[in-house]
């Protein structure tokens, strides 16, 4: 049963990823991207990472996609899509190179699957690992301060005028 679910999710993910590039209408492309985010969340669920799946939906579907949609609202001719520039061939070369690097990386990685059963309750262990005694409190704080300064920077840019 899990195999069927994974196959469905994987096919949808790849199809929507291709659609993001192929579809000319930017808004539809953005919707395909949202579908892709959700299928990735589904894959996380199959891996028993429920907190990660929820956060994936919360952050990517709830926030990042909204950001993309707002950006689309500011573009003209969203229905036709942008005209093709003369950077078609360099883009293809870079794309294929990137794909090669990713495929090479995946093939040459020995993925280790732990023997112990997945955790039933994920939130508490995650919190303990992040904020516990031997955790990553300092790293977290640095990330938080960075985000805060980014927000302040955005406000400062708007205030300029």
């Amino acid at each position: 049963m899990l195999e069927i679910a994974f196959a469905l999710l994987a096919i949808t993910a790849v199809a929507s990823a291709v659609a993001v590039i192929v579809v000319r209408d930017i808004f539809r492309a953005a919707l395909c991207l949202i579908l892709l985010f959700m299928t990735v969340a589904g894959v996380y669920l199959l891996l028993h990472a429920d907190f990660l799946a929820i956060v994936q939906i919360l952050v990517y579907v709830g926030a990042i996609s909204i950001l993309i949609i707002v950006a689309i609202m500011l573009t003209r001719d969203a229905r036709q899509g942008p005209p093709l520039g003369n950077l078609k061939y360099p883009a293809a070369v870079v794309g294929i190179l990137l794909l090669g690097v990713v495929v090479f990386g995946i093939i040459n990685t020995a993925f280790v699957i732990p023997d112990n059963a997945p955790l039933q309750e994920t939130v508490k262990p995650l919190g303990k690992a992040l904020f516990g005694d031997s955790g990553y409190l300092l790293t977290m704080e640095i990330a938080v301060v960075m985000l805060l300064s980014a927000i302040l920077g955005a406000i400062a840019v708007i205030r300029e005028k």
Binding site: M1, L58, V61, G62, S65, I69, E121
Partner: protein
Amino acid sequence: MTLLDQFQLILKTAGWPEWAVYLTPAIVGILIIIIFVLTVVIVFIWWERRLISRFQIRLGPNRCGPEGILQPIATAVKILLKEDIVPEKADKLIHFIAPIIVFVPILLIFAVVPFGEGAILVDLNVGIIYVIAISSISVIGIFMAAWGSGNKYSYISGMRSIAQMVSYEIPVVLSIVGIALVTGSFSMIKIVEAQSIPFILLQPLGFLIFFLGSLAEMNRSPFDLLEADSEIVAGYHIEYSGMKFAMFYLGEYGVALAYSGIITTLFLSGWQGPLLPPILWFIIKVMLVFSLIIWMRATLPRLRVDQLMSFAWKFLLPMAVINLVVVAVEVLVLPAGLQWVMVILNFGLAAVLILLWSKLFTLGGGRVEV
């Protein structure tokens, strides 16, 4: 152990194949939820129309069936028989999918609403974050409807929906963190079990923030700028008719039911109560919350766009942060037995904070900067 798990065990001992053991209880549970939602939505529509008539000193629908209870069914049949019109300039595909994307997440929320002890579809250990995450998908559906219609009024409504939902999500999440701090878990069942004193007494400020924030999330008056009839006609569903409009209508009351259930679970101690059976307590509390929502609609005028945004960012957000810090300190300092001290402290603090902040924060009289 939930009722569904017990159902699965019974099937397993009866010797059903594995996939049937897995699927049958889930499908039965989903069917029960859908029937429950549809029934309660019909009652909700009738209750809202009758109650708002009382507020406006008129009778309201009272002809169809006893006290007009069959009126929503008549309305539903009328809507379903109408012609389905798709505008020529619409993006047909997106126009078609949008009502589904709005409605399905709302049904998904009910998966984690505990109707009684064990009467929950799945007791996720990330329960309440799941609700927040899933309900944020509806925004995309609303914007798809707004964009796909190819209508400028619906487009304005879509932009308003994005601004509103993104702003009000933050105070709502922060007030939920306060509850998670006291409970020590995100699971809906554990949140209900932790409420020997309902959290509305323990965190009155948190309740106010969550209640107002969720009013905005479900586009209820006074935050119903998305469909402000007097400004942008009907907002995002202006170009919808027939079955598709019915989906939006259903979704609107479905989300009201879902959030009433979640407010009941988070702040009003869920199914718990003396004498009456749990499910009855749950429904009574849900009806109380929904009546409060209708009361707000009957009493308060609609906010202006700038007022809406500054209310979220300048009033609710600072309040939510202060509430979070206060609750965190109380959980750390006070011993677990002294919850009544916390009640008195928090009520005093909420009163003082709201009074002080509303002095600083004047709306309407002067120019409001956003």
